[in-house]
């Protein structure tokens, strides 16, 4: 229970397709609010200072650092997290990350998948270099990235259809 003097914000927004009303401490970041109040723990807090990318969420359609947006700023916005992100890109990426072992501990993975999905929406056939570039703001401490790049490449191929795999 927060003490009565803690400043709060009223938030009404859409989260993962549903209308949500709630309150957050003003100084709570979006990712903290999603995790603690809405139980959406798929986005992770790895650094809380905007470097690691584990907290990525989609805010009004664009992937952002969830630790660098205040929960109060989500009032009126549309938020999407890894729990619901279900476009064709995310589906293909999920399959490919699993098949290619593009994750180990999995802490960075939700942020990786959201960022990679945004890449594939813009560039359906990225080079390995372009994949590395797009994911440069998402740290992985486990895989050495190679398998992640493999997975994104494979997802891109799968999305382009059978002709692309030849």
């Amino acid at each position: 229970m927060l003490p009565p003097d803690e400043p709060l914000a009223e938030i009404a927004c859409r989260v993962n397709g549903r209308a949500v009303r709630g309150r957050a401490a003003l100084r709570q970041t979006l990712v903290e609010w999603l995790r603690a109040d809405l139980g959406l723990t798929g986005s992770h807090v790895g650094c809380a200072h905007g470097v690691c990318g584990a907290c990525h969420v989609r805010l009004d359609g664009a992937v952002v650092r969830g630790c660098l947006v205040l929960a109060a700023q989500a009032d009126g916005a549309t938020v999407e997290t890894i729990e619901a992100a279900g476009g064709p890109e995310e589906a293909a990426l999920r399959d490919a990350f699993v098949a290619h072992a593009g994750l180990q501990c999995g802490f960075c993975t939700p942020g990786m998948i959201l960022q990679a999905a945004e890449l594939l929406q813009r560039n359906p056939a990225p080079s390995r270099e372009a994949i590395r570039d797009a994911l440069s703001g998402n740290y992985c401490r486990c895989t050495g990235y190679h398998a992640i790049v493999d997975a994104v490449e494979a997802a891109a191929r799968a999305l382009r259809g059978p002709a692309a795999t030849a």
């Binding site: 401490a25 999920r94 180990q104 999995g106 401490r141 895989t143 790049v149």
Partner: protein, 783 residues
């Protein structure tokens, strides 16, 4: 056996959950009524302090502000002692420093409040008076005469030291045709698992039992420490490590802050939650690998290595880490020094030095990257001095498989290593002639290209003699309990910990083959001491090598029990029956019943069983390796780098590694360990550094903008090859793969950069990480 599971590249079961956002990491859990903790930490490397906490405690939402004396009532202090390091100087530690802090970041007070934000407000509001004491952070300055003591009353800052002498090093160096020498400086690193450390403690009123969630590599061991420090019976302590977001050695030590969470929960009889923020992680997670190594190599006229002479100065931090002791790193360095090679003479001196810095500890590959870098740098120098190809020099001096087992001059027990096979495979993988032509062409066009090699030996899967012999209660054995479910699946609990390396998948594949079921029918869980049996956890690349044997043993024992039951039911000699693909086969290979039928019968229709037959659905196996104190694996690493002659930046263009980790349980897992380990090593070689201000001793690498981790754009594609020589004195034969990549990468990068520098007529770099400024200075392009 159809579809043998061991060796197959099966995706991990857990991955499906993790890609869907279904991970359950420490901070994803909560307890009703929990208090949030924040620590006040020393802002100075060495200081006396007095605290006035009344104003902080009076803030709305604050439940308590605790200091050392409060927690002393419920938590005993601890001190690192090891027979392996006689005479070790390491002061007592308690959850909070009492009146004097001996490193920047040491916790001195703890606030418990309604939210983390309020706890931080209150920590700020503590009225702390700091009296700065002389501090020493530089490892060489710490040993200088007249250096301020890291702790009052110390006569010197040397915590421990030893000398080793083998053969006749004086004569060897005197008689040598060539002696090369190098002094290499290794800057502190830290592990930075993306999930920070943390604890969620729940004290059970009345019974006095503690349940604590930790992000940890060895919940069983922490359970013992918690019981001991809090004075509880061990069976009243439950430690749960759910999904662990990376460990790398960071999450295997006893930390003051984690112990404080447990103690506070007991003191206040409330659930207490604390998750380190990244600033705390950088300050207070163990650091590692601060060494200044001066080493010489003696070579005879024919290019045979005669011996090594090495001095290692190790920075320990303010205490030697509990319970294993930070000095283990220096011994690991020494054991890996020259380990792939034949040499008869050895001399070493180690000085492990206290400093007013956060303690160091065992971090992925421990001292091996340093031992390897020193060795491989000396080899490059020796080959260059002889005017010969360094690969030819290595090939001449690498131990042949038939020369082992042997114990070398630094006390390393070498067995089952296959260096020449790995070297041949690496040559082929790299297509060395074409690669050399490419490098020559590039250099002719003005590019600063360099190729670096390294040969590694890694000591893995420590057996009972290592810590047991040192009197340190670290379990080197592991247990698996396997159970047949009434639906025919197999469930298992393992004492090995899953920290993202995928070992539960590897063990599932072992169990599948051991019992005779498809891999998809096996589920292995770990990490909850209330469910999993005793054992060691995740360290020393031991999951497959020790956990794998435990899984095999449990699977075979379960299989034998099921065959006994089936024999009684089918009126057949159990020895004539088999289990395959989840079914009992008779002598003719005909399926007679499924395991699901057998399981249901055993569990629900026991009355149909013959008299006197009471088969168990579960089997436990506790694996203890006899004989070899450690296992050893080997590898060959190669890196192609390009230097930017203008900026001094180093780019890794390509990387190759061939490893022999014994039996590969699942190539997806092994390749992931190799590549991830290499990335760690590349970071170590080029980017990562814990830096301190030379004057104030202030830590300068406290954020991820300052401590540079490798990004996707910093690591190249990594080509892997495998030599698979199973460990012969075991059932499964895995030797461990988790740290091999890290062992060799710094050496390969160091050699590659120096190769490029040498080709450009430059000097050498001798400090890790290799800074752009150092590259430019070596090229003579910057004063």
């Amino acid at each position: 056996m159809p579809d043998r599971a061991i060796g197959r590249a099966l995706p991990r079961d857990a991955s499906r959950r993790l890609v869907a956002g279904g991970g359950r990491f420490l901070d994803d859990h909560a307890e009703r009524g929990e208090l949030h903790a924040a620590f006040l930490r020393s802002p100075l490397p060495h200081a006396r302090f007095t605290l006035h906490t009344d104003a902080a405690a009076a803030l709305p939402g604050v439940a308590a502000v605790l200091t050392a004396r409060d927690l002393a009532a419920v938590c005993r202090p601890w001190r690192t002692v090891s027979k392996g390091f006689p005479g070790l100087v390491s002061p007592e530690q308690a959850p909070l420093a009492d009146g004097r802090a001996s490193w920047q970041g040491e916790p001195v007070a703890m606030v418990l409040a309604a939210s983390r934000a309020i706890a931080e407000d209150a920590a700020e509001a503590i009225d702390a008076a700091w009296e700065e004491l002389p501090a020493v952070t530089d490892v060489q300055a710490a040993l200088a005469p007249g250096a301020p003591p890291v702790h009052p009353g110390l006569e010197g800052n040397r915590a421990w030291g030893t000398t080793i002498r083998h053969g006749d090093p004086d004569a060897a160096f005197a008689a040598a045709a060539l002696v090369v020498e190098e002094r290499l400086v290794f800057t502190r690193h830290t592990g930075v698992p993306l999930e920070p450390r943390g604890a969620l403690a729940l004290w059970e009123k009345g019974t006095g039992a503690l349940t604590i969630r930790l992000s940890h590599q060895m919940p069983h061991q922490m359970r013992l420490h918690l019981a001991e420090q809090l004075g509880l019976p061990v069976n009243r302590v439950r430690v749960v490590a759910a999904d662990v977001g990376g460990g790398f050695g960071i999450k295997m030590h006893v930390y003051q802050d984690e112990m404080a969470v447990a103690a506070a929960s007991r003191l206040l009889a409330r659930p207490v939650r604390w998750v380190a923020d990244r600033l705390e992680s950088m300050l207070a997670d163990i650091h590692a690998r601060e060494h200044v190594v001066t080493a010489r190599l003696a070579v005879d006229a024919e290019g045979h290595m005669l011996g090594f002479d090495v001095q290692d100065l190790q920075g320990l931090g303010a205490v030697s880490v509990y319970p294993r002791s930070s000095t283990v790193e220096a011994m690991s360095l020494l054991r890996t020094l020259g380990a792939p090679y034949r040499f008869a003479h050895a001399r070493a001196r180690i000085d492990s030095v206290l400093q007013n810095k956060v303690p160091t500890g065992q971090y992925r590959a421990v001292g091996a990257p340093i031992g390897c870098a020193v060795t491989e740098r000396l080899i490059e120098k020796a080959a260059a001095a002889r005017g010969e190809d360094a690969l030819a020099f290595r090939a001449r001096n690498l131990l042949r498989a038939e020369e082992m087992p042997l114990v070398n001059g630094f006390g390393a027990a070498l067995h089952g290593l296959h260096h020449h096979a790995a070297l041949e495979k690496a040559r082929a993988l790299m297509d060395l002639p074409a690669l050399r032509a490419e490098i020559a062409a590039g250099r002719a066009a003005g590019r600063l290209l360099g190729l670096g090699l390294a040969v590694t030996v890694e000591f893995t899967a420590s057996g009972p003699a290592i810590y047991g012999g040192a009197g340190v209660p670290v379990a080197a054995t592991d247990t698996v309990v396997a159970t047949l479910e009434p639906t025919g699946e197999v469930s298992a609990q393992a004492s090995i910990t899953e920290i993202g390396q995928g070992i539960t998948q590897g063990l599932a594949q072992v169990l599948a083959d051991a019992v005779g079921v498809p891999a998809g029918a096996v589920r292995v869980e770990a990490g909850d001491t209330a469910a999993a049996p005793h054992g060691g956890g995740a360290w020393a690349s031991r999951g497959a090598a020790i956990g794998g044997e435990a899984a095999w043993g449990a699977g075979r024992a379960l299989r034998a029990q099921l065959l006994d039951a089936a024999g009684a039911l089918l009126q057949a000699e159990p020895g004539t029956l088999d289990i395959s693909d989840g079914a009992i086969l008779d002598a003719a290979g005909t399926p007679r019943m499924t395991l699901a039928e057998l399981g249901r019968l055993m569990l629900f229709r026991g009355h149909e069983l013959p008299r006197g037959v009471t088969p168990s659905l579960s089997a436990a196996f506790h694996y203890r390796r006899e004989g070899d104190a450690t296992l050893a694996n080997n590898g060959v690493h190669a890196a192609l780098v390009e230097l930017d002659g203008g900026s001094g930046l180093v780019r890794v263009l390509r990387y190759w590694m061939v490893g022999d980790c014994g039996r590969v349980l699942n190539p997806l897992l092994v390749d992931g360990q190799y590549r991830g380990g290499i990335a760690t090593g590349i970071g170590e070689a080029l980017l990562e550094a814990c830096r301190y201000d030379a004057d104030s001793g202030q830590f300068l690498s406290g954020t991820l903008a300052d401590y540079l981790l490798p990004m996707a754009t910093d690591i190249p594609d990594i080509t892997l090859g495998h030599v698979e020589t199973p460990y012969p004195r075991s059932a499964v034969g895995a030797k461990g793969a988790g740290e091999s990549g890290t062992c060799g990468a710094p050496a390969a990068i160091l050699n590659a950069v120096n190769d490029a520098l040498a080709a450009a007529g430059g000097g050498a770099v001798t400090e890790l990480p290799i800074q752009p400024v150092a590259v430019l200075r070596a090229l003579g392009r910057l004063a």
